[in-house]
């Protein structure tokens, strides 16, 4: 996303366009998850037993660890942005570490899915399975998309730092990463723990 470079200063730009644009996108995404969450709450409130008898329990421990992985990635992302702002060189490596942690998160989730399917939890086995795969799957796809966006960011990073003047170009990437990392603990508590 590049902004139109208008030569004359516009009136009162308080929030830069790319930050504003990303904030609006994230608001929409948040409401998408709010839709899924409210569906989950309604369906669950109407269910007779939750989780239904004969369905496997969700892996709380491993996923708890995975939650920490994602939170750690938010921290490395923050470091990347801070490094960029100070004009130091390791930005690219920090972006790659963040992306790797994100990929690890998706990998562990995928591994757990394979196990759960083997134990008989599928999208069609119960609403318990249906809501689980839909919500966790939607989040997993978001993390995957965010990892891809970070790989793109890492690719353009050298050119950006050669230009040198713009020290906030990573901001929209960071915002989106914070969003996917930040929404996960909510989903974890809701779907796994409650």
């Amino acid at each position: 996303m590049s902004s139109t470079g208008t030569p004359v200063a516009r009136s009162e730009v308080i929030v830069p366009s790319r930050v504003l644009g990303m904030a609006l996108f994230i608001a929409t995404e948040a409401l998408f998850f709010a839709g899924l969450i409210s569906a989950f709450v309604v369906l669950r409130a109407q269910a007779i037993d939750w989780p239904p008898a004969g369905q496997p329990r969700l892996p709380i421990g491993v996923t708890g660890f995975n939650t920490l992985v994602l939170l750690a990635s938010a921290w490395t992302m923050q470091q990347a942005a801070a490094t960029l702002r100070r004009g130091e060189p390791q930005v690219r490596r920090l972006i790659m570490i963040t992306a790797a942690l994100g990929a690890l998160f998706v990998g562990i989730q995928g591994y757990e899915w394979v196990n759960l399917v083997r134990y008989g939890l599928t999208t069609g086995s119960s609403l318990y399975g249906a809501t689980f795969y839909t919500i966790v799957g939607a989040h997993g796809l978001h993390v995957l998309a965010a990892v891809i966006s970070l790989i793109a960011a890492a690719l353009i990073a050298p050119a950006r730092s050669r230009e040198g003047t713009d020290r906030t170009w990573l901001d929209p990437f960071r915002m989106y990463w914070f969003f996917v990392a930040g929404v996960w603990p909510v989903l974890y508590v809701l779907v796994y723990l409650s």
Binding site: M1, S2, S3, T4, G5, T6, P7, V8, A9, R10, S11, V13, V15, P16, S17, L20, G21, L24, F25, A27, T28, E29, A30, L31, F32, F33, A34, G35, L36, S38, A39, V42, L43, Q46, A47, I48, T123, G124, S126, L127, A130, T131, Y133, T134, A138
Partner: protein, 558 residues
């Protein structure tokens, strides 16, 4: 995109097809929308012929079976709302006008803008393709309620509904990109000196519509994803047999669906708000009040959705609450209507074609709004729900912004878009014919609805209560009216084509209007403004005392 790149000559592809210029993208949206209006209009013709002459062969189509009728109703509604109203009113005019009216060179994110159109284009292809898949197009109504839409066994083919859902999801992704662009541009790219309260009302309305769309579409996408999964992955979210809840979809749908009607209404009203002061040579009455009414409408539009579900078995206490919010929302809308009327009061009114269509918007909408009171009240709605009264009501509220609002905008901004003037005589004929046949078509539907005629019925002969000479006569009048509406578009097409080919060249400011788009040549060049304009005043300073001209452009130094 940098400004340097805009000035460079470009290949045919970059100039007309994969263009990032907001004006080209606007025209792309406009032409796609007009094409889809033709498709939607022909589907309306098929329905009306079947209702007036059930079971007989329809000229140009043949006989229609109930399954195909359901598909035709569904696709007519879907196309008119999502592929005509939104691309034309929001995407086309928003794209064309926002940068020009605020004195910007282009949108904030031109490449995202181009991507938005091409995703929309793909969604159009997917939707049209769904007519030709085995089992035919989606037939579950434009609201696509499960369980009807949840299983192939209920609504015909396996593919139709899935493609429908896919097309709608893609389209929303496209408008999401557009909405982000509109809001960011209006907030960040205004010309120096243009404060928020100096923006023309059209920009406010586009801004309001975009914000409403953005904040309502997420839950619908969630609901649509769950519906797709119900169909392809056996999840059973909306299937009571597995513990699911069909009403859940209704909530997710109408949480979006009702704000959506304001997404369509506001840009239409925006066009009216631009036209009225220019053709009454008066300042807009209560500009700020209008802006506040827009904001209040936006907020309220999020808490009225369950009025579509009075019959669906929701808690009666809830129904009362939603009745109240529904009737409350008519307050800001009434404020807007009164502001429009007060703008006319004691003006020097010129009944040029754009003005006729703007006034037509108001008159028709008033009738639609008044009939809405009956439906917003849970008590009367229980009787009128799902009858032709509802069909007449929502056409009386949708056609003003979508038809009349669009034509007001078309006749008003055509000179700016294409650099040619339209013919006034043909324009006026177009207005009067459309306006008269509109009533001929839909007034009989109110009467049919009172008589208990249900909507979405493929053949009235199947039901005793819908027969009788009276009902048949009304059906035939409505059909004659509908054909009249379609034929009334001939002057519009002839006028537009002739004017494009050899209309008089349009000057920069043919209507002597104040807003910034009229300060650049018609059509505006790449990059719009040669030098960035400086804005000194609000958009509606007409007939200012002690001035020779009765208009006062926003960028004119005293």
């Amino acid at each position: 995109m940098s400004t340097a790149a805009i000035a460079h000559p470009k290949s045919f592809w970059r100039e007309y097809v994969f263009s990032t210029d907001h004006k080209t993208i606007a025209k792309q949206y406009l032409s796609t929308g007009i094409f889809m209006a033709l498709v939607g209009g022909l589907l309306a013709y098929v329905m009306r012929m079947q209702l007036a002459y059930p079971g007989q062969a329809i000229p140009g189509y043949g006989t229609i079976d109930p399954q195909s009728y359901n598909a035709v109703v569904t696709m007519h509604g879907t196309i008119m709302i999502f592929w005509v109203a939104m691309p034309i009113l929001l995407a086309a005019f928003g794209n064309f006008l926002i940068p020009l009216m605020i004195g910007a060179a282009d949108m904030a994110f031109p490449r995202l803008n181009m991507l938005s159109y091409w995703i929309f284009f793909l969604s159009t292809v997917v939707l049209l393709a769904s007519f030709f898949v085995p089992g035919g197009a989606a037939a579950g109504g434009w609201t696509s309620y499960p369980p009807l839409s949840g299983s192939a066994a209920y609504s015909g083919g396996q593919w139709g509904v899935t493609l429908w859902l896919l097309a709608v999801a893609m389209e929303f992704a496209a408008f999401l990109m557009g909405g982000i662009n509109f809001i960011t541009t209006a907030i960040n790219n205004r010309a120096p000196g243009m404060k928020l309260f100096d923006m023309p009302l059209m920009v406010w309305m586009q801004l309001g519509a975009s914000i409403i769309f953005l904040f309502s579409v997420g839950p619908l996408i969630a609901g649509a994803v769950m519906l797709i999964l119900d169909r392809v992955a056996a999840t059973g979210f909306y299937n009571p047999a597995t513990g699911g809840d069909p009403i859940l979809f209704q909530h997710l749908f109408w949480f979006f669906g009702h704000p959506e009607v304001y997404v369509i209404l506001l840009p239409g009203f925006g066009a009216v708000a631009e036209v009225l002061p220019v053709f009454s040579r008066k300042p807009f009455f209560g500009y700020r009040m209008m802006v506040y009414a827009t904001i209040i409408t936006g907020v309220l539009s999020f808490i009225v959705w369950a009025h579509h579900q009075f019959i669906a078995g929701i808690d009666p206490r809830l129904a009362t609450a939603f009745s109240i919010t529904t009737i409350l929302i008519s307050v800001p809308i009434a404020v807007m209507t009164f502001a429009f009327i007060a703008t006319l009061y004691k003006g020097s009114i010129e009944l040029k074609t754009p003005m006729l269509f703007a006034l037509g918007t108001l008159v028709v909408f008033l009738l639609g709004g008044v009939t809405g009171i009956h439906l917003g009240t849970a008590a009367t709605d229980i009787y009128l729900h799902d009858t032709y009264f509802v069909v007449a009501h929502f056409h009386y509220t949708l056609i003003p912004p979508v038809f009349f609002g669009f034509f007001a905008a078309w006749y008003y901004w055509f000179p700016k878009m294409f650099g040619r003037m339209l013919n006034e005589g043909l324009g006026k004929a177009h207005f009067w014919l459309t306006f008269i046949f509109m009533h001929v078509t839909f007034i009989p539907m109110f009467l049919l609805g009172f008589g208990g005629h249900h909507r979405r019925i493929s053949n009235p002969q199947f039901f005793e209560a819908m027969q009788g000479p009276e009902a048949e006569r009304l059906q035939i009048i409505a059909t004659a009216g509908a054909i009249g509406i379609l034929l009334s578009q001939i002057p519009f097409v002839v006028n537009s084509v002739l004017s494009l080919l050899r209309g008089a060249k349009a000057p920069a400011n043919p209507w002597q209007a104040n807003t910034l788009e009229w300060t650049v040549p018609s059509p505006p060049p790449h990059g719009n403004f040669e030098t960035v304009p400086q804005v000194y005043r609000g958009p509606y300073e007409y007939s200012v005392p002690d001035r020779v001209d009765d208009w006062f452009p926003q960028d004119a130094k005293v």
